[in-house]
């Protein structure tokens, strides 16, 4: 068996992690990785804090594609799109020709959600979902600086404040990624506005009292928060763009970055007749409705849940690697806090389901908050730690599922 081996679609964290884990168990199963990207390995969470680390897009590449292929002992097909999965014949139709598989792993990730806006520059709205997007974004950020630096040079007799060297960036979305970019850009000296129809930062993961903790520390870096409104129009201006918000306010900006969320990439699976919902439906063994096809990462819906974060990917990759190596292993997720990389005010949150029954209880609040979500059984089933409490996340994770102390 397995002479055609395993084919993995996608060279992100999920695709490479499952192969890395598999190779710890088995060096011999043939593995082919198919990616539409370059296949260079980088850490996606670093895209939203690369400025603070002093890295450009090229600097974020941890291992070149050819070195990954050699280290992992895999065949790598780069710049390759998959058109279709022929499940009956276990064959893929790709831009690099047909490819047969014994078992297929779909790790295609997710697409940024695009909110429709009006205006003659609506197509200038950027999103950063991979390293190529990031290179483009940094190019635009850099160009602006170059142009202004030349201006400064030309007027070298005049005093020009360093403030004029900034690029103005308007971020659509004050969620996790929006806040991380806001912190990274503002700390690097750029002028950032965050526009979000919600009521406070990271409102989908955190209660009000926790979300509000981010307001002042980021405002101190110069972030201009605009909650309760959204971008209606993006129009070209003499220099940069003019944004018109739903509340009628107007903002002048050099760049518009959209960070409003991700949508699992399910089109290929859906077209092949696999069961899909929000993501590709898989069971605890990461197995889809076709026993030879697995999915993990941002494209997968594992037992009804899409969990687009690093820690769930690592757990899923380890379990799937064992199953692929011959030992059927369900993924068991422990408490997996999400870390928000906002150095101005760090956050760790173990979110609860939107419809969870219980209450958020404030335990401490000085230089941040410590909050527990206490469910109907009086147990801790979620938490938020901000500011100086963020470092307690491992300690706090151990208390999840235990009875909460009396309030």
């Amino acid at each position: 068996m397995d002479n055609k081996g395993i084919v993995v679609l996608g060279s992100g964290l999920a695709g490479y992690s499952v192969i890395r884990e598999l190779r710890k168990l088995d060096r011999d199963i043939p593995v082919t990785l198919v990616t539409r990207d370059s296949g260079d390995y980088y850490s996606k969470p670093m895209l939203s804090n690369a400025l603070a680390q002093g890295k450009d897009a090229a600097g974020l590449v941890l291992t070149r594609a050819a070195d990954m292929a050699a280290q992992l002992g895999i065949k790598l097909l780069v710049d390759t799109e998959v058109h279709a999965i022929d499940r009956a014949n276990k064959r893929l139709d790709t831009t690099s020709g047909a490819l047969e598989y014994d078992r297929l792993v779909i790790a295609l990730g997710a697409d940024p959600i695009r909110i429709p806006v009006q205006g003659d520059a609506a197509d200038a709205v950027l999103s950063v979902n991979d390293i190529a997007d990031y290179a483009r974004f940094r190019g635009l950020l850099g160009n602006k600086n170059t142009v202004r630096a030349e201006l400064v040079e030309a007027h070298s007799n005049e005093h020009i404040s360093t403030g004029s060297m900034r690029t103005e960036v308007a971020i659509m979305g004050g969620g996790l990624i929006g806040c991380e970019f806001a912190n990274d850009l503002a700390a690097a000296g750029h002028a950032v506005s965050v526009i979000d129809p919600g009521p406070w930062p990271i409102a989908s993961l955190m209660p009000e009292q926790a979300g509000q903790q981010l307001l002042a520390p980021l405002a101190a870096l110069g972030v201009d928060w605009r909650f309760g409104t959204s971008v209606s129009r993006v129009d070209r201006a003499a220099s940069g763009y003019l944004l018109t918000l739903a509340d009628g306010a107007q903002l002048q900006t050099d760049l518009v970055l959209s960070a409003v969320g991700l949508r699992p990439r399910i089109a290929l699976a859906q077209q092949a007749g696999l069961a899909v919902n929000r993501g590709i439906k898989v069971d605890a063994h990461l197995r889809s409705s076709d026993a030879a096809i697995f999915a993990l990462g941002d494209c997968a819906e594992i037992d009804g849940k899409v969990q687009p974060f690093v820690l769930p990917i690592m757990h899923a990759a380890r379990a799937l690697a064992k199953t692929l190596a011959g030992e059927e292993t369900p993924v068991v997720f422990p408490a997996m806090p999400v870390v928000v990389k906002t150095p101005a005010h760090p956050v760790a949150v173990l979110p609860v389901a939107r419809d969870a029954v219980g209450t958020w209880q404030l335990r401490s609040n000085s230089d941040g908050v410590k909050m527990e979500f206490i469910d109907a059984e009086q147990c801790i089933s979620g938490f938020v730690l901000t500011g100086r409490y963020a470092a307690e996340r491992n300690e706090m994770s151990k208390q999840v599922g235990q009875r909460a102390l009396p309030v």
Binding site: M46, L62, V310, L311
Partner: protein, 54 residues
């Protein structure tokens, strides 16, 4: 003293600073961290860390 970086999430371990909140004292060399140790952000094992600078 060296600086190490997690290949999965970008987490940085600086030997000079250690990780006092994880019980690892400042000045602890990478080699002296227990094999069972895993990245606090993504759970990657010690073996998967990568050195970025000396």
């Amino acid at each position: 003293m060296k600086v190490w970086q997690c290949v999965v999430c970008g987490f940085i371990y600086d030997e000079t600073k250690g990780m006092p909140e994880e019980g690892i004292k400042p000045g602890t060399k990478w080699a002296d961290i227990p094999e069972a140790w895993a990245c606090p952000d993504c759970g990657v094992a010690k073996a998967d860390f990568e050195m970025i600078e000396v």
